[in-house]
């Protein structure tokens, strides 16, 4: 402090921490905002893997997986209310090495997803240009602009960032509802033709259903990011469970409606490889208004996802820095905007590099794999949490029902999904696992010596059972 003051720095005696300004609606915007792009594009590759009904089974199986994730997350995060979300949970409940890995899973999952969203923005601009009769638009400036604009917004403050997400996410969700009502499924004049278009129930059998699970995650991937807002909500024990469960319900509705509309308008052979299926569905209705609505909805969903990803990745990276798991320099908070500004800045070139240099399917696969590793940690975390701190020892903001059933279902579904991913992207799965093993060794044998061990555990909880 003395050196800085001598150099003309402003003296400051209070701690600078993240700002507590968010409510349940912002948590909802964060959860749904990251994910809803998956309804607009990507989920339909599950149709290509196993047919329309396989995609529906995958949609509901993944829905079950993520309901378990949301319930487990809500209980633990309403109790461990700290930035970093699952990273902070792992630190308090499992241990430092698990926490370091979980922190990296989060940063990779969200940064890769952000890069994927930026690539999609470029693709959307190119699509609009082609429709307007212009061939060969350079997508790079639009990819860079989307990342820079959202990074700038995140840099300037969390309230504006997530209010922006709230507006564009609500628009994108309402657009799906409008499309559903516009096709009038209850009417004899409805353009939906499920019976005629779904000619084969399971064209690749049950193996196709299993393979579809890989892209079934797309309907919900990232909803667990609500926990990253833990240190910025006004009432963590209330806002996080409400926001997370409401996000899950919204997504389950949006996912099912999306499947129903698209499977009734397009042959599964086309739907399985469509770039923007909801937009295509709107075009097939012949309504210009719906086409514009779903076109803007696609862009908004993509931007909301990238926005939430920047928010979440930067909080996870910031938490790792604040605990000295990474250089403490990353643990800085902006004194005016109260955001983890160095973490936001650091992740901009990383996202840009992946967005400009790596193909979309690779980027997305890395994101899914990191997410999946994170989901595998959650049931272990939950079982340990209930064992070390049973319900009668500490107060939770939310207690999830039927423990340990959700944890066991989650771990079983994760195992199933690993196999599904291995079928399509085995090399990437092995490469990713090798990467995490190498960085774990680095953390254990080198980095952990810089961690202030007594400062890590901040919760005023009683001593755990058995210790």
């Amino acid at each position: 402090m003395a050196v800085a003051e001598a150099a003309g720095a402003v003296p400051h005696t209070e701690r600078v921490s993240l700002l507590r300004v968010l409510g349940p609606a912002h948590v909802w915007a964060l959860g749904v905002g990251i994910v809803l792009v998956g309804e607009y594009m990507g989920w339909n590759f599950a149709v290509g893997k196993g047919g329309a009904y396989a995609a529906l089974v995958a949609c509901w199986m993944a829905g079950l997986l993520y309901t378990c994730v949301a319930m487990i997350d809500s209980e633990v995060t309403s109790t461990v209310a700290a930035a970093g979300g699952q990273y902070a949970q792992a630190k308090h409940i499992v241990g430092p090495l698990m926490a370091f890995n979980v922190g990296l899973f989060l940063v990779f999952a969200y940064t890769m997803l952000e890069a994927g969203n930026a690539i999609t923005v470029g693709f959307l601009v190119d699509t609009v240009a082609k429709m307007a009769g212009h061939e060969g638009v350079d997508q790079r400036p639009f990819i860079v602009l989307s990342i820079m604009f959202l990074a700038w917004l995140n840099y300037r403050g969390v309230l504006a960032t997530l209010t922006f997400s709230l507006v564009i996410t609500a628009f994108a969700f309402v657009a799906i509802l409008v499309l559903f009502f516009a096709v009038q499924p209850w009417s004899a004049d409805s353009p939906l033709r499920h019976a005629e278009l779904i000619t084969k129930e399971l064209p690749y059998g049950w193996l196709g259903v299993l393979a579809a699970m890989h892209f079934g995650l797309w309907f919900y991937l990232g909803v667990e990011g609500t926990t990253q807002a833990a240190e910025e909500v006004r009432s963590p024990s209330r806002a996080l469970p409400y926001g997370t469960m409401a996000s899950m319900m919204t997504l389950a509705i949006a996912a099912t409606l999306t499947w129903y509309i698209c499977a009734g308008l397009m042959p599964w052979e086309y739907l399985g490889q469509a770039g923007v299926p909801l937009f295509d569905a709107a075009r097939l209705t012949g309504s210009t208004l719906l086409m514009w609505l779903l076109g803007i909805g696609t862009l908004f969903a993509t931007l909301a996802s990238a926005n939430g990803c920047i928010n979440d990745a930067s909080r996870a990276w910031f938490s790792l820095g604040r605990d000295h798991y990474l250089p403490a320099w990353f643990g800085a908070v902006h004194p005016k905007y109260r955001t983890p500004y160095r973490s936001i800045i650091f992740l901009v070139p990383v996202a840009m590099l992946f967005a400009l240099q790596v193909p979309l399917d690779q980027v997305i696969t890395f994101s899914i794999l990191s997410g999946l590793l994170g989901y595998t940690f959650m049931p272990i975390n939950m079982i340990m949490f209930r064992k070390k701190w049973p319900l009668d020892t500490i107060k939770r903001g939310y207690v999830h029902p039927m423990h340990p059933l959700p944890a066991l279902v989650l771990i079983a579904l994760c195992g199933l999904t690993y196999f599904a991913v291995f079928l399509g992207y085995g090399t990437q799965l092995i490469a990713m696992m090798t990467f995490y093993i190498v960085v774990s060794l680095w953390f254990h044998f080198w980095r952990y010596r810089f961690v202030k061990r007594s400062d890590q555990f901040t919760m005023p909880w009683p001593r755990p059972n058995g210790y």
Partner: protein, 55 residues
Amino acid sequence: MDYWNYAEYAAWGVSALLGLLIIFDWLRTDSTYSEDVLTSSREGEVEAVAEKHKL
């Protein structure tokens, strides 16, 4: 040159401007405040005052 070419240049320009705004503010903040202040955030502050977890 048509509208789309201008849009490409505008996107590059706005990106560069936003980047410069961020970098300028970053350098100004780092030179105005001490490192102790900037990294003074601690996990669990709300737990100490609001979320007691008592039954």
